[in-house]
């Protein structure tokens, strides 16, 4: 549906470095990256706001130089960009001034019911909360019947208590309004809930892309693994296993301590170096050879094991919990 080929854009010192990717029709595509990685710049380039080198195809047609008002893409900015001179209702139906909206009245009613914004329609946008603004911005974008909906960190300015409800709505939008979504975010939890496909961006480059579960559970590079919150990344040689992958990672919750070496397949002698008490668990740092492991130990287990700084024990890992990178 959307094919981006060798997209290049230089702005000052920063550049998007020949990015290529495909987005399939009716999919939820998440571009995941840290702040300053070029996500918004990429989204604006797809929308047609930036002049780029390279090519963009949409439904087999090249749209690289097509003016943004002719692309038919919806856009929701991080700060929502609701027009302050218009009421909520005027904002939502703004696109009907410039293009014919099929079944406009029915669509309008459906959107305001779906996003629960009926009570806001006559209000000025300046007096809305973050969550209300977000829903109005979504309504405005959906009402324009976009073939592709571009969302720039749409949840970052929303109160955490409403975030789950809005995420649920976002997921439903693709099917309900027969559209495709590209959503950029720095939050991998958002990505894990919403995405069918993920592209991970760092410093203007897409360093990994693919099916959501694969990226989130089996990243191919250490940078992506670290960004996705993988902890305890160590060389595979530590396991004495012959694998193609150079490193492995183990979830801090999946590590066990024992005073015997036969608890699991992989048990290493370790020394407890540091212990930090948190509300419902302890963070324990244990050294195995030159590697420092981070382990989360539940309170009841901690008491049972009687762990103390400086004691020697075994740090054990089950084979099924190991993620090779």
């Amino acid at each position: 549906m959307l094919n981006v080929e060798n997209l290049f854009l230089q702005k000052g010192e920063f550049s998007l470095k020949k990015l290529s990717f495909n987005v399939e029709k009716n999919s939820y595509f998440v571009i995941l990256g840290k702040t300053g990685s070029g996500k918004t710049m990429l989204l604006e380039s797809i929308a047609g706001i930036n002049e780029i080198e390279g090519k963009i195809f949409f439904e087999e047609e090249e749209i690289t130089t097509l003016p943004l008002q002719k692309r038919g893409f919806g856009f929701v900015y991080q700060d929502f960009v609701l027009f302050p001179n218009l009421t909520v209702k005027e904002n939502i139906v703004f696109s009907s001034r410039y293009k014919q909206i099929i079944d406009a009245d029915a669509l309008f009613l459906d959107i305001i019911n779906f996003l629960q914004i009926e009570h806001l329609l006559e209000r000025k946008t300046t007096h809305l909360s973050g969550g209300e603004k977000q829903r109005v911005a979504m309504a405005r974008a959906i009402y324009s019947r976009p073939k592709l909906l571009l969302l720039d960190e749409p949840l970052s300015a929303v109160d955490p208590t409403f975030r789950n409800a809005i995420m649920k709505s976002l997921k439903e939008i693709v099917k309900r309004y027969d559209t495709t979504i590209i959503h950029v975010t720095h939050n991998f939890r958002e990505a894990s809930y919403l995405a069918d496909h993920i592209a991970v961006m760092m410093d203007g480059s897409i360093i990994e892309q693919g099916e959501s579960n694969r990226i989130l559970n089996h990243p191919k590079s250490i940078e992506v693994a670290k960004f996705l919150g993988f902890k305890n990344i160590f060389p595979s040689s530590l396991l004495n296993e012959n694998t193609l992958e150079n490193v492995f990672s183990i979830d801090p919750n999946a590590i066990l301590f024992s005073y015997t070496s036969s608890l699991t397949k992989y048990c290493f002698k370790c020394v407890i170096e540091d212990i930090m008490g948190i509300s419902d668990h302890y963070k324990v740092f244990a050294r195995v050879k030159e590697h420092l492991f981070f382990v989360k130990v539940p309170k009841h287990m901690f008491a049972k094991l009687d762990l103390k700084e400086g004691i020697k024990c075994y740090l054990c890992i089950k084979k099924k919990d190991i993620v090779f990178i």
């Binding site: 008002q69 919806g74 900015y77 302050p84 001034r97 410039y98 974008a141 324009s144």
Partner: protein
């Protein structure tokens, strides 16, 4: 707390000095003239015609700059281009030059120069005409509107324009439906500043168009030929009318 009070007392005293300096001469003028003479002046044909001509010429100057200066302000606010600083500095020059010198420059350009000959051939005369008055007012007051509009446009985030365009609006529609309404207050303030600055213009107008007489020229004319008692009622009438119009526009703008 005592230091806080001292601070406030000093600041209130200093503020009062300048506020009174600005206010007292105006009040004094009205007291000296009195309501009877003021009303008589307002009913005098020469006076009300000159006041109307002043208001009208300045208003036309504002309209002309709205059409030409607002696009310039938008370009300056939105784009970085070679020579932008030069253009911005150039816009401030009329505010700095002596007004009589500006009048001479306009006279040289629009009356005697090749541009003047061309404009005459298409029916635009500047010497002793309303067009000349308008040009003189515009030359010295246009920067107020252009700079006001530029600041207004800068306050409208460019993302509003991108957003309107993703929703199907062309650049021109975006400008009129989103950019202009959201910069309205600054533009209107700039227009009011320009208009009011134009009302007070004397130096440049008197060089290019002594006749027909605008109010500042009539005040000067009466003062030099007949003295203070003849010029003061005209001055008071002009101040009364322009302040009334100014307040009315502000009131309307605040309501909407």
């Amino acid at each position: 707390m005592i230091r806080d009070k001292c601070f406030l007392i000093i600041f209130i005293f200093l503020a009062a000095v300048i506020a009174l300096f600005l206010l007292v001469p105006l009040v004094q003028l009205f007291i000296n003239v009195g309501p009877v003479k003021l009303l008589d002046a307002l009913q005098e044909k020469e006076v009300y015609e000159s006041i109307f001509l002043t208001l009208k010429s300045s208003f036309y100057a504002v309209l002309f700059v709205c059409v030409t200066g607002i696009p310039l302000a938008y370009l300056l606010a939105r784009y970085d281009f070679w020579g932008k600083s030069f253009v911005e500095s150039l816009l401030d020059v009329p505010v700095m030059v002596p007004h009589t010198a500006a009048g001479i420059a306009l006279l040289v350009t629009f009356q005697n120069g090749e541009i003047g000959v061309f404009l005459k051939s298409i029916g635009l005369e500047f010497l002793d005409t309303t067009t000349g008055i308008m040009a003189a007012m515009m030359f010295l007051s246009a920067p107020f509107l252009i700079n006001g509009a530029k600041e207004g446009f800068k306050k409208v985030d460019v993302k509003y324009e991108h957003m309107a365009r993703t929703l199907g609006a062309s650049r021109m529609s975006t400008f009129f439906s989103i950019v202009l309404p959201n910069a309205r207050n600054d533009i209107l303030n700039g227009a009011l500043m320009m208009w009011s600055r134009g009302l007070g213009e004397f130096g440049a107008v008197v060089i290019i168009a002594y006749h027909p007489m605008i109010a500042p020229v009539l005040i000067y004319d009466r003062f030099t030929n007949f003295g203070l008692s003849y010029s003061a009622p005209v001055a008071a009438s002009m101040i009364l009318v322009s302040v009334s119009v100014f307040l009315a526009i502000r009131f309307v703008n605040n309501r909407f």
